[in-house]
Subunit: 191 residues, 2 copies
DNA sequence: TATGTTTTCGAACATATTGTTTGATAATAT
DNA sequence: ATATTATCAAACAATATGTTCGAAAACATA
């Protein structure tokens, strides 16, 4: 890949990161982004078709990172308490679910300023759409109990609960630890 | 109130109702609304400051109606199974909660086309903000169990679960009955 | 170093939207 | 009958989007 391309892409995504911590997504214009990134108008459009494209690209990178297997290499010890294998086929119980949640929350905490910015307005839906998609694979491994609940209702409920808890967490400026929030979640979710 | 004012306001809100069933909120321009309502541009701005104002006005009316006491007068018998007194001070148990949910869901079902339209994109947040606000009063009457869960985490979780279930219901075109969905909810919420 | 390709840039352009202002016209209340 | 109030169309400034163009710079390759 051309060095210039990498540079511009980086400038644009960093401009986005800066702006999203200052004002909400819908108030950020493409003009703002190219001003902050200091690139030409047409240059932006050579990399991203729309503002949503840019956000989707950011979300894709983030979740690919979170749900990739080899991140126990991270220097942060706390992570090692809550590893999970996203490609495993094993059934998930309450304890496994807690580990998964906590693991994701640690990642969110690492980029909390940006995450919090994204968790408002329009950008929220796009971000949560990705989260829901990545969670779906994991949640489908939950063993269905004998209730008459449809599987998709249950997985939607659990994903929704995680999402709502995350928003609650961000709204309160990430006061409690990922481990605590994981525990809260397990206490309110019947599995 | 001036007859002309009432007429225009009605024309605008009905235009909004029509449009929201056809395309999502963010794609509806004020130009679209005044074309559909057949009113002048400046007239719109005499009634509503922004498009969001219009939506908020609609939400306010809807939730005032749902959470008002005297609506058992409705002709729909099914409602009478699930009345609730929003001004009561009594504690809420699982059964009371189920009645409240079912009651609200019946109202949503009555205007399902519009509700479904509103439940996408930007309009969703505004709508759900109102729902959350109105629910808060009720949910604060839930008796806290001996867990260490913060009250606002718990109420947020329950409101969130109801919201997610409602979206799931709307996405599936309101296939099951309000009573069924109310039962699903009670099955997944620990109280 | 020389050469051909790729990327960037700025400026201009068409198009669309928002929100405000104006004065004329018509409906309303009393 | 009259004073008030609501509506309307048309024009306006301001802002945003997405496209196009040719010139200039950075690049890969040999």
């Amino acid at each position: 890949m051309d060095r210039r391309k990498i540079k511009t892409k980086k400038a644009i995504t960093e401009a986005f990161n800066t702006l999203i911590t200052k004002k909400r997504y819908e108030k950020i214009s493409i003009q703002n982004i190219i001003d902050e990134a200091d690139v030409g108008r047409s240059t932006f459009y050579e990399h991203f078709g729309t503002k949503d494209d840019l956000l989707r690209s950011r979300c894709h990178e983030l979740f690919e990172h979170i749900f990739s297997q080899n991140d126990e290499k991270t220097t942060n010890h706390e992570f090692s308490n809550c590893p999970f294998d996203p490609l495993s086929k094993e059934f998930i119980n309450a304890n496994a679910l807690k580990k998964i949640f906590t693991h994701i929350l640690y990642h969110f905490l690492q980029e909390k300023k940006i995450i919090k910015g994204i968790l408002y307005g329009e950008s929220k839906d796009i971000f949560l759409g990705y989260l829901r998609k990545y969670l779906a694979d994991v949640l489908n491994r939950i063993e269905l109990s004998k209730t008459d609940l449809p599987r998709d209702f249950l997985t939607n409920h659990i994903a929704g609960s995680f999402i709502e808890a995350t928003k609650w967490w961000a709204d309160g400026n990430f006061l409690i630890s990922p481990i605590n929030l994981g525990e809260y979640l397990i206490q309110v979710i019947k599995i």
